[in-house]
Subunit: 219 residues, 2 copies
Amino acid sequence: MTIYEASGEDSERAADKLALGVAARLSRYLQVLTQARKMGKETISSQELADYTHVNSTQIRRDLSGFGKFGKRGVGYNIDSLVAQIRKILHTSGQQNIALFGAGHLGTAIATSDIFADHGFRVVAVFDVDRDKVGSRIGNLSVRHYRELREVIDDEEVVVAVLAVPASAAQTLADDLVEAGVKVIFNYSEALLQVPPEVTVHTSSPAVDLLYALYFYLA
Amino acid sequence: MTIYEASGEDSERAADKLALGVAARLSRYLQVLTQARKMGKETISSQELADYTHVNSTQIRRDLSGFGKFGKRGVGYNIDSLVAQIRKILHTSGQQNIALFGAGHLGTAIATSDIFADHGFRVVAVFDVDRDKVGSRIGNLSVRHYRELREVIDDEEVVVAVLAVPASAAQTLADDLVEAGVKVIFNYSEALLQVPPEVTVHTSSPAVDLLYALYFYLA
DNA sequence: TAGATTGTTAATCGATTAACAATC
DNA sequence: TAGATTGTTAATCGATTAACAATC
């Protein structure tokens, strides 16, 4: 099987882990499947998935067939059942609690969108340091003061923090989050964050994606 | 050289094109370099770049050395000069004009951030259909009515459109943009967009990135 | 000089693709 | 049955990595 790897730096972890590429692609399939389902589709072919994800259709069938025979020849894949299967593979069938930091425009956009909710992520708290914002409501949440961070993270078993704060505040916040036991930091600020190796930082970078997309137009 | 490819579906284009992976990685290096420069750093080693991008340091040196000898042994890479080199390679030394659609929280966050500006993208217009928003100011731009789309895109030579609109409005908007000659659509809505093959759609998907990041914590 | 880091080679592994039999 | 699409094979190519001489 080409599906598992014991990759270099991470080989201290269990070998029962997908190759990086497979995990990334499965996540993308999930996004398209979730949206296709919202649009009322019930089945989807590997070719349709390929059109939306820019992943080759053979590769998609290959990725999926490594875990079982999920499709029906001549028909395609049942969307509901494929979503359930991929969630199982990615261990994301359950719900994950998210804490959101920053109640500005970006934080508000994130909290009121269902982009995370659709995938089993629930925003359980929004924090800010601005006295004018603390106490105000965003969606069905009340903005809390930053000093309650520790308490909320423990009580709600928050593993993921989303940072929608100014770059100047990001590193201090990240330090506090690490100390509070957060394992995944999703960084929307521009700051380059330093964290211990057991914590994962993902820095969202729309401009990078855009540079990349534009390259193929300009070249 | 392993740098160029004439990939399957795209082989109708000039062969003078980077491999997909190289272009994606160069874009990421650019993000880190830009931010490192903001923080006052003047040089950076391939190892430091590796720490921030999660790309292996050997691969970074390999990617760069394919285009020239940009580094200094025992020292690292000069950030300013590396930024200039990579921009040249990606053909993004010039400035690109962006039109932004949607003046809600997300649109406002994008327009007032310098996440695009740092990479040579300039938001030249913000559009909305809401009468209450049209005419109001976001940063130093005045929100324009959607009906002016065509005019602005022609006058400002807009090639990139950023969609921060509800999913229900996205496809109609995309159709209009394609007709107006836009070549790259950066989609922040959840809609799956259908466009002709000469237009590139990039759908931003924070939840996908998060699922992926979380997998390596949960596995 | 001594330490650090690049540029490059060689070897391995995963990704990609075309093609097609199986089968719904 | 006929058409469509999966599951799988085989072949190729790019990504990844360790290692190290070159050199700042």
